[in-house]
Symmetry: C2
Subunit: 206 residues, 2 copies
C-alpha cells in the first residue's frame, strides 16, 4: 500500500475506533463511518472488506493499546504500589473521558459475545491477559507479605477484572466517576493497599 | 384496549424483551421484531409509537421482574444466608440461560447510557435499588456479627453490584459460567458467608 493509502487506512481506523467505542458495533452505521472518517463508501470498502473486518481491526488495535496500558500502569517498586497505580490509572483514564464510551472490550463483550465468536475471542484474550498480569502481581504481593496470605491470587485477579468492568458500568449508569472510585477503593481495602498510591501514566484502559 | 389488543400488546412485549435482551437495542431491527412477534409493522406501531418506546416498556417490565427477583432471592433466616441465596440465585439464573443475553440492564447500560437519558435513568434506578437492598442486608449482617465489623455496607454493596455485573461479563466472554461463580465465591469469602448456602428461587436476575 502506498503512503497515502496507509494514511487513509489509519485515519479510517482512528475514526472507527472512536465511534465503535462510543456507539457500539451495531449502533454504528456505514453512514456514521463515512461522516466521521470523511472517506467515501467505495473507499472504505477498498481498505476493509466489511464493517465486521473493520470492527476486528479496531478491537485488535485496542488490545495492543491496552496491553501497553497494562505495562505502563503496573509500575512501582513493590507489588502493592503497582496495583495501586493500576487502579489509579484506570480511574484517571475514565475521568479524562468523562466516562464516555466506557471500556470498548466490556461494551463489545456484552454486545457481541452471543453473536460473533471472532470478536468474543479477542475480548476473552484481553480479559485473560489482564487477569494473568494482575495474578502475577498478586502472587508477588502475597510472597512479600503485602497482602493477606489467605488470598487466592488466581480467583482474586478474576474478581478484580470483573469489579473494574462492573464499576465502569455502574459509574456510566449514574454518570458519576465516584462510583467507579468507590468500587476500586473497596478492592484496595480488601487487598490492604489503600493509601499506597503513586501516580503513573497510561494511554488506554479496560 | 380490548382483550385481543391487550393480548397482542403482551405478545409483542414478550418477544421484544427476549430479542432486546439477546441482541441489544441497536442490534434489533424492526424486521427482527416483526419476525419474532409475528405482528405486522403497522400493527406494531399501533401499540407502540416507536422502537424507543417499546425498549422503554421492555426495560420497565424487566425492572419490575428484577425487583421481584431481589425479594425472592434475598430470603433466609439470617442476613448471611440471604446474601448467599442471592448469589446462588444469580448463578442459577445465568446457568439456566447458558449465559445467553447476560443482564439486560448491564447490556443497556453500556450500549445506551451515553445516548439515551431515559434508558439510563431506568438502569440507574435498578442498580440503586439493588445496591440499597444489599446494603440493608449487609447492615443487618454487621449488626448480628455475621460479617467483619470494619466492613462499610454502603461501599461494599456498590462493589457487590459491580462485581456481579462484571462477573456476568467475563463469563460471557469466556462462555464459562464458572468464571461468574468464581467472582461470587471471592465475594462470599470476603464477606465470610461461604458455605452458608440455602437454595431459594427467583425468576430474573441482573
Amino acid at each position: 500500500m502506498r503512503d497515502k493509502g496507509i494514511r487513509t487506512r489509519e485515519r479510517v481506523l482512528a475514526g472507527a475506533t472512536e465511534i465503535f467505542h462510543r456507539q457500539g458495533f451495531s449502533g454504528t452505521s456505514i453512514h456514521d463511518l463515512i461522516r466521521v472518517t470523511g472517506v467515501k463508501k467505495g473507499n472504505l470498502y477498498h481498505y476493509f472488506s466489511s464493517k465486521e473486518e473493520m470492527g476486528l481491526q479496531v478491537l485488535s488495535r485496542a488490545r495492543d493499546d491496552f496491553f501497553r496500558f497494562l505495562e505502563n500502569s503496573l509500575q512501582g517498586d513493590r507489588p502493592s504500589v503497582q496495583l495501586a497505580n493500576h487502579f489509579d490509572s484506570i480511574i484517571r483514564y475514565h475521568e479524562s473521558r468523562n466516562l464516555v464510551g466506557g471500556c470498548i472490550f466490556g461494551n463489545t463483550a456484552l454486545e457481541m459475545s452471543d453473536r460473533n465468536d471472532t470478536y468474543r475471542d479477542v475480548i476473552h484474550s484481553v480479559f485473560e491477559e489482564w487477569r494473568r498480569r494482575i495474578r502475577d502481581v498478586l502472587k508477588s504481593a502475597v510472597r512479600f507479605g503485602e497482602v493477606r496470605k489467605d488470598l487466592d491470587p488466581e480467583a482474586m485477579a478474576r474478581n478484580i477484572v470483573a469489579t473494574v468492568e462492573g464499576g465502569i458500568m455502574v459509574a456510566r449508569a449514574s454518570r458519576n466517576p465516584a462510583d467507579l472510585k468507590a468500587c476500586l477503593a473497596v478492592l484496595a481495602g480488601i487487598l490492604g493497599i489503600d493509601g499506597e498510591t503513586v501516580t503513573h501514566g497510561g494511554k488506554q484502559t479496560g
